[in-house]
Symmetry: C2
């Protein structure tokens, strides 16, 4: 368990949205993922997908992380473990967003709904496919109460 | 772009399924994620979710990765970029699976449908929630033809 692994960014997120506005604009904000030109061949065919999964490194998150938090925006809820939350504050600060691919311009991807700060290093981009879609899911009441719908 | 980042596993995948059987058994195989005991507090409340997203490091994948591949099981298709595929062969070999949480036993999570080899280091565990579910998606014909249904 004491092993460590190293990775290097494949690209960087650029957005005009200031850090402090990302939480409230996360559902419709536009960003550009600028992929390192040496990785551009890896984008071939990506425009056949409407949605992508973007994995990114939340580089401005303080470490070490706390393991329990009160759910964001739910101050009356008891604290929960970081693996039961989508908090930025986690042992490995990897963020995940399912985004709309709006356009591809060479090595640049214009995407909607990527809740990452300007300058965020990108770990990986994956196509979102039917095997990522599960509609009969159970979530806690406090989460369900705010988000109990499937968006299309 | 030349920066590099370091992370350490929060746990390890254990499964009786041999590596070579993982592809064909990926839809129903059972695995145990053994979380490092120091991170066990981070699991508090995770059992309120039916599905989890598991991020893992495909440590037995050769590097450096090729950037274009023929889609797995689709030899008649042209090669596509690794960011348009879910191939193991990618610059940062991070795997992603949406799994069923079958049971939690302290720091151990029994999960279904985690297509990771025995011994795989785990990067992160996140709850799968309604904001990860998009049903009106577009995928390439060659993918859609094999997987054109939403599973529940």
């Amino acid at each position: 368990m004491s092993a460590s692994y190293t990775w290097s960014p494949i690209g960087t997120v650029h957005t005009d949205v200031p850090d402090e506005d990302v939480p409230r604009r996360r559902r419709d904000m536009l960003s550009t993922i600028v992929v390192d030109p040496r990785y551009e061949p890896g984008l071939a065919g990506v425009e056949a997908y409407s949605h992508l999964i973007v994995l990114f490194w939340m580089h401005r998150t303080p470490r070490p992380a706390s393991l329990v938090h009160t759910p964001h925006g739910e101050p009356d809820q008891p604290a929960r473990g970081t693996f039961a939350l989508r908090s930025r504050n986690r042992p490995n600060p990897v963020g995940l967003a399912v985004v709309d691919l709006v356009a591809r311009e060479g090595s640049r991807l214009i995407v909607r709904r990527l809740d990452a700060f300007d300058g965020t290093p990108v770990i990986d981009i994956k196509p979102y496919d039917y095997y990522d879609v599960f509609t009969d899911i159970r979530v806690p009441d406090w989460s369900n109460s705010a988000r109990n719908r499937v968006r299309t």
